[in-house]
Assembly symmetry: C2
């Protein structure tokens, strides 16, 4: 197998020329003559140049393109995204443990700040978590004319709570997270998200979201389910019984929203969950957020309303620039809300036709 | 460093139970007793279970989470996306060579079909290339009331040509690609894209796009630049002189569109290119496509018009379902066009304020 290298060369007579090349050195040792094929900067302006240089007149450093697995965290999943993988370079592992429910790992990455990893899957990175939290919160909240009581199922990192309590009409937020350790570790390592737990509007219960919904009928205006992926502990959240329970826990005209995976990975899975949801709710849709550190760079949300008049793409509640500023939103705007329901044609066909 | 494994265990007395666990085995050898901590399937339905099993009663296979670099292509770039990396599992390398301009590699991937890689950067995958090609073509074409003569700079794989010739008002497409080998290899290995070269509307020139524009003043309605990334051979395409040349090559009210990178990676780079462009065009914007196999999962396009009345988000030319069907579009629709210019708030601020 041919091996390629990145080489940064700086010609000693001209410090300003710092060129990047990709080439195949037959041998690389100081003083040896090697053949170097390179393009002028801006190949459109000139042809390729082929010369022989003495290595002695260059400073060079070489790095193999292979990633050192000791330095990188690679998010491999043969079940969820076979054949593709996203990796982050790790500065240090801040914490790891096996909780009662899952493998928890928190790392300091080189490019994405602090990263929370559950069962080997990236849950959020400090760099782009806001995109996910704002969309999973404000899309359903703004599809309800007056969301006062909100239930969050999961969301142990606190990010969804942080966003939900910002909405001006929300007075009470109940949150049920099964894994206490995620909450405790988020408080320690992800304070930019766990700050959501500090709101006086919030009541946190450690327990099973299914049980909690069973015991609270007709109580909530909006239920947001911030789960991990549909394989593993959160599997049941993607089944029909979940939508049934959620429906019963809602007040009239209530709205639910739950993490819905990416149609780029498996449109048929998204479709079948939408179909479950349609059995219980008169209005059902799938909205989008762009989140670069998630596989495919996009994640979707199942949103359903008990109100047959709901128009998801036209929010009941709109915010002007000043309100958005006051809430400190970095992703969501009323226009972003409207655009979140426009899917590429193949996806719209797979999900709705 | 702690090492984690994926383990698939099947308990011999019950073939239907096929569970996936993540755990840390102190030792793994047939017959040894090891401690196994695992959750029931659907952790929300029950607690965790802790038991000791004899390994002899299980069949198990173990795979390290580390990727074998001989099986994966990893798209590392310390310049363009330091600290993060997308990888594809490779079935076979179909071709590799060093052309006059760049390193060309074509692989058969396990999950994304055939993949074209230039200088170590993924240019397109069979699985999602349509998203890029349709957006870079139809966004500018539909922002022009009557695009007849189109110039494509770059685009050696043929994908943009394939889309541009579909537009009903386009009569002539001129394409200038600098690297003949990309065209030849695409015809051989990427026929689903290179089919664009077969259109009777198309005239292909092998040469320098800058020179070509200099020699063709006031000729084109739309110029589309399908380049590689802003470091390497395509660097000059992101500079001011490019927009000056493109402006001169346009007819009155002409429109240009060029690959514009992702604001998730470097909003200041996108902003400075937009600022170059604003010096020469009265109307300038940045439109989006979701392309999962590109870093961040999104890519943008600089679109500029000489017509000060242009409203990018409201296309001059709209297509109904039947027309979209006839053109075989899988990503673009008139609604997708309208939504492509709504950016997350932080990006809109970075690019436009």
């Amino acid at each position: 197998r041919y091996s390629s290298y990145f080489v940064t060369l700086r010609y000693s007579s001209n410090a300003a020329t710092n060129c990047h090349f990709l080439f195949r050195p037959p041998r690389l040792a100081g003083g040896l003559v090697f053949k170097l094929v390179f393009s002028n900067s801006g190949a459109y302006a000139g042809g390729a140049l082929q010369r022989e240089w003495s290595a002695a007149s260059w400073q060079y450093k070489i790095r193999e393109r292979n990633m050192n697995p000791a330095e990188w965290f690679s998010e491999i999943s043969d079940e969820l995204w076979p054949g593709q993988c996203f990796s982050l370079k790790v500065k240090s592992v801040l914490h790891e443990e096996r909780s009662k429910y899952q493998d928890i790992k928190i790392v300091q990455s080189e490019s994405h700040g602090v990263v929370l990893i559950l069962d080997g899957i990236i849950q959020c990175t400090e760099r782009d978590e806001f995109a996910y939290q704002e969309q999973i919160s404000f899309l359903p909240l703004c599809c309800h004319p007056n969301p006062q009581k909100v239930l969050i199922v999961g969301g142990g990192d606190g990010g969804v709570a942080r966003e939900v309590v910002k909405h001006p009409s929300v007075t009470e937020v109940h949150q049920v997270e099964i894994d206490e350790r995620v909450v405790e570790l988020s408080k320690q390592y992800l304070p930019f998200m766990a700050c959501g737990f500090d709101s006086p509007k919030l009541r946190l219960t450690i327990g099973d979201g299914f049980e909690y919904m069973k015991q609270h009928e007709g109580v909530f205006d909006v239920i947001i389910t911030d789960s991990s992926d549909p394989i593993g502990p959160a599997e049941s959240l993607f089944r029909e019984s979940y939508f049934e329970l959620a429906k019963r826990a809602l007040r009239p005209n209530g709205v639910i929203c739950s993490q819905g995976g990416s149609f780029w990975l498996d449109p048929s899975h998204v479709r079948s969950t939408l179909d479950y949801c349609r059995k219980h709710f008169p209005r059902v849709t799938y909205g989008l957020a762009a989140v670069p550190s998630y596989p495919t760079g996009q994640i979707g949300f199942f949103i359903a309303s008990l109100n047959p008049e709901t128009k998801f793409a036209e929010p009941c509640r709109t915010f002007d620039e000043k309100e958005i500023d006051q809430m400190g939103l970095r992703y969501y705007t009323t226009d972003v809300h409207r655009a979140a329901f426009t899917l590429p044609r193949f996806a719209a066909k797979a999900l709705y036709e």
